[in-house]
Amino acid sequence: MPVLTYLWIIPLLPLAGAAANGIFGRNWSKGTVTTVALSSTTLAFAAALEAVREFLSFPADQIPWIKSYFTWITAGTFRADFALQVDQLTVIMLLVVTGVGWLIHIYSSGYMHDDPGYRRFFSYLNLFMFFMLVLILAGNYLLMFVGWEGVGLCSYLLIGFYFLKQSATNAGNKAFWVNRIGDFGFILGVLLIFRTFGTLDFAAVLPRAAAMPSDPSGHVGVLTAIALLLFVGATGKSAQIPLYIWLPDAMEGPTPVSALIHAATMVTAGVYMVVRSHAIFLNAPTAMQVVGIIGCATALFAATIGLVQTDIKKVLAYSTVSQLGYMFLACGVGAFGAGVFHLMTHAFFKGLLFLAAGSVIHAMGGEQDMRKMGGLRKKIPVTFWTMFMATLAIAGAPGFSGFFSKDEILNEAQHVSPVLWGLGILTAGLTSFYMFRLLFLTFFGEQRYDEHHVHVHESPKNMLAPLIVLAILSVCGGWMAAPQLWGGVNHFKQFLAPVLDTASASAASESTGGGGSEIVQALFGAPVIAGLLGFLLAWWMYIKSPETPKKLAASLSAPYKLLSGKYFIDALYATVIVRPLVWISDTILWHCIDDGVIDGAVNGVAAVSRESGDRLRRVNSGNVRSYATWIIVGVLVFTSLLLWMVA
């Protein structure tokens, strides 16, 4: 098992690429930088494929495959290894991260081609791949936390990539700070895990958590506390209420970054972490309810904001928040497999949507406002068709990848809570509406830009190729679950079953017990109909009678303002949290404590030493006889002391 034995090579390849470009690449040509960056990710993808091939031929009793390379920390009973772990869940994440990451690297080599920060960009992007791979390959919570923090750092660096722009710097800082809150919850959860189980290894913690008695509903026991703390971490990283506010602002980063970090991979780390810890969550029903409700609320809430955004990337950003909400909804109702399934299909179609949006922005020479686009379908056909595929996928058109994953989530939700299911259906309709609105505003209708100023052109081949590959994946990515439609096996669920079964036998049997007939109904069921309604409404409002939106906005001005103002959550946070915090920091912490106490103590010590030194200086007269006098006085004092002590 060469690659599985030397698993560390998979994360190390991008790290080597990042280090080479970052440290030595100062005088390298653009071609060399591209070669280094792309070959490191290509090799990582190849290594991941090889690892998966080896993994698939494994006997079941060797899974999860855990490889400990060295002991990282020992302190008392605490011990953390540099251990990597591969099981079915890791395999899926590994393929998504290295595969989509590789495609986006290729795309970036075209998109960022004329950027002066080309080398810096690729070195950050490779570094991100390294940390993300550490996150998903980690065999214990502490190593996972390293990856978790590392991707946060790279996210910050890449959001603030155009650091001369004040708004980009602010957005980077905002993302970093909001994530700090979540990360604080996560590390507290990890500490509580150690306190409860005495170890942080997944292989030890999760079976023990599964064996523990379930916390009664409504009662916060230790498992519920752990689960809730971990979920706080997930809300930060995966942009859920109340910590979602950083993700829309993160669109200040270059578009490939939005695609890779803020749509396909990093933001799904929270979902991955919750699924990884599903044994804990399953024994904490209260935490599960919280996860489900927050997920559903976020899905609906973000979708409504997405309805009225005019920036093409902002629509996609709120859509991402909303889809992440779906994944947490799945986790909350115990359908962890469906959550991971949606994570994967979402990585395909949302990555594609962002890349296609990047291609549109590229074609428009940097314009992101959809009101200034229109009629681009004929000018950039490849971008249009790939984006159309992705839109169908996210809207849940039958046969496309999003259809299978979304249906599965809603199906499972129906068993648990009709309310969550209903809100999920509503969200599906809204999703379909705002996505087709985006598509119609951008590609259909009359052109609303000045042709003399904007030279619309299709993107180069290295940008189109990833679009096409991702479009194929967006269409076919869900077919693993397709046999279920005619009463067959959901291959995806079956593949993940060993990971999720170990602890969640009840949930798994319940979900497989659902049977194929319900899904056959779902083909013409509520989600599809909701999606169709959303499409028709978008078509009517933006193609049939394009003056409707304006009239609607005028007649419903209060709700419209609420939505376009994003529910004024940012303003609310600014008044309730940020301003008091700034006031406390400024008045009390800075001027009282820092200036008064800390600086006072430091300056006081200095003043006392200076003053006493000044006094003592006079002793040093330069006169030899006075020195001699001091010596004699000293000798006399010590001699008399000695005599006195002897006597």
């Binding site: 040093n620 007269s621 330069g622 006169n623 030899v624 006889r625 001699a628 006098t629 004699i632």
Partner: protein
Amino acid sequence: MVPTSYYLVLSAVLFGLGVIAFVFKRNIITIFMSIELMLNAVNLAFVSFSRALGQLQGQVFVFFVIVVAAAEAAVGLAIIILINRNRGTLNVERVDSLKD
């Protein structure tokens, strides 16, 4: 036979005179001589103890002290001559550049 304590008292008196002269005199030559006086007061104490205890180490030590004193005289007088040449004075109060 004169008791040892007499020698020791004489030694202490000589040493005390040396110290007083060292502290109060201004002329470098005089200070130098007071150092010699202190050294020889110590020599006297060594010799008296040597005789009182019947051991030779004290007397051997005196030779060392005399040798060191001779070396010190050679170096010290040279320094004094240089000070006199450079500053035109032997007043120790005007030689205070150590404080800078």
